[in-house]
Amino acid sequence: MYAVTVFTQLCIYAILTLSLNLITGLAGQVSLGHAAFFGIGAYVVGVLTTHGIPFAPAWLVGGVLAAGFGLLLGSISLRLREDFLAIATIAFNFVVVAAFLYLPYFGGAYGISGIPKPLGNAGFPLLVLATTLGVVWFHERVRASDLGLAWMSLRESEVAAEAVGVDVRRFKVTAFVLGTGLAGLAGGLYAAYIGVIRPEDFGFPLSVTLLAMVAVGGMGTLWGPLAGAFVLGGFAQAFAFVHNYQLVLYGLLLALVMRYRPQGLLGKLG
């Protein structure tokens, strides 16, 4: 059913925006390579399940592997200033997509097709919905915890956070590991749901779209990323004619919101 398909897609977007919000919205580390981790989770599930491994273990491996690469990027981020971090994450996205394209086993430009969908047409959307609710719960738990407070302190001022004893290095890396791991899980769900994945599905434009959803909605909040995923994602789904103008609209919207309401539509001024 079309409505279910759209809703499932939007839930996957929501997992992605909430996970990006942990890194960028709460911990203040800009990431323009989030689609790469989504792709890592998707490709792990694609490769493993088409080689006869059941979905559940493949899904977990995808999440863990994405988190592993998140650990790597997080460790790199410790050495970089803000601007450099943004460039490094763009670079990471390109390297990962190039790896999907050029390494054997990943199917080149054709990607991987025939990925099996567990739980049937009715059960799988429920799994996606349950995962989304789980991520919402996790997001709120983290936001209210010491971890969330530590992230927000280093977002506001790293120097001040360090001065009051926050272990900046450890918390930055934790943000990357948790955010990218969740993006990997979203990728696994996407691969099994769509059945066909290609390298370009996980490119830089998707990273920009995700950052746009989070930033336009309102970074650091719960409703901002959710509204970004559902409103911006749903807008594109609801009006097919928009598809041709999707990128220019996202781009302009991003510029306009940053210019006139930098805290996002649902965000509060810090």
């Binding site: 970089l80 450099f84 670079a91 390297v95 190039a98 950052l211 990128l247 991003l254």
Partner: protein, 288 residues
């Protein structure tokens, strides 16, 4: 490898590297003054290329195409500075960076909607050879770049404007306090950066005989890589890094063929530089 092949690769590498340097120079200049990564610079470059193509289609030669490209790029660059970057000064650089990416995406996609998603050819120069393996477009690109950078060098070293830019880059507040007109000098920096990017866009179109909507994408990321390799905020390091990347890429593609994606390799190199020499390959001291 024989002399003929080697010089052909060097000529191609120098030409491509010149184009990288022209594009990346503006990025470094703007970063030095505003501490903002002007990602939309690549949109300015693509818009310049299209303006050059329109001028050519309207019957102009290379000169008119370059003039139109530079003019359109300067206009767009100044509008972006006035509407976007200036009001966001003093906010978190993240805000300008994110919005700038939006602007870049919007400009590229607008070009696609206006002029179609396909390539347009720009056959201004016949690709005939001049000396040995060196072709006419290569000579034009390298000569134009060298001429432009000579002018830029003159501005940077011999005019109050150049001194002012260096003062702002070191300490904007102090520069303003001693009478450097910040807004006007910033505008002039955007004008120069955009003019170079517009010329680069037209020259890229001429060199590869094509302009297309997403042509800003690869140089956008490559210019970022070049800027990092040269040391962010170090203009002449950027020029050297651009030339170096062009030559290395051209040789690497000749040897490795299509087994490795050039973009992937460029970015892998960049990530290694970020990790081990974050101040850039050529700068001696870490940048503030």
């Amino acid at each position: 490898m024989d002399w003929q092949t080697l010089s052909a690769l060097a000529a191609d590498g120098l030409a491509v590297g010149s184009l990288y340097a022209l594009t990346a120079f503006g990025l470094t200049l703007v970063y030095g003054l505003l501490r903002v990564l002007h990602v939309a610079h690549a949109g300015v470059y693509a818009a310049g290329a299209y303006a050059g193509w329109l001028a050519f289609r309207g019957g102009g030669g290379l000169g008119w195409a370059l003039l139109a490209g530079a003019g359109c790029a300067v206009a767009l660059g100044l509008v972006l500075e006035w509407w976007f970057y200036r009001p966001l000064q003093g906010r978190s650089p993240l805000v300008a960076l994110i919005g700038s990416i939006g602007l870049f995406v919007a400009v590229g996609d607008l070009l696609r909607i206006l002029f179609g998603p396909y390539q347009h050819s720009l056959p201004v120069l016949p690709p005939r050879t001049v000396v040995g393996p060196v072709s006419l477009p290569q000579v034009v690109v390298v000569a134009a770049t060298a001429g432009l950078f000579l002018v830029v060098y003159g501005i940077a070293t011999r005019t109050p404007l150049g001194v002012g830019w260096r003062a702002i880059a070191q300490d904007a507040e102090m520069a303003a306090a001693v009478g450097v007109p910040l807004p006007r000098y910033t505008q002039l920096a955007f004008a120069l950066a955009s003019a170079l990017a517009g010329v680069a866009g037209v020259l890229v179109g001429v060199y590869y005989n094509q302009v297309y909507p997403t042509m800003g994408a690869v140089p956008a990321y490559k210019a970022l890589a070049v800027v990092v390799l040269g040391g962010l905020g170090s203009p002449w390091g950027t020029v050297a890094a651009g030339l170096l990347l062009g030559v290395v890429e051209s040789v690497a593609v000749a040897y490795l063929g299509n087994r490795f994606p050039p973009e992937g390799v460029a970015f892998l190199a960049m990530m290694l530089v970020l990790l081990f020499r974050p101040q850039g390959l050529l700068t001696a001291e870490p940048q503030g």
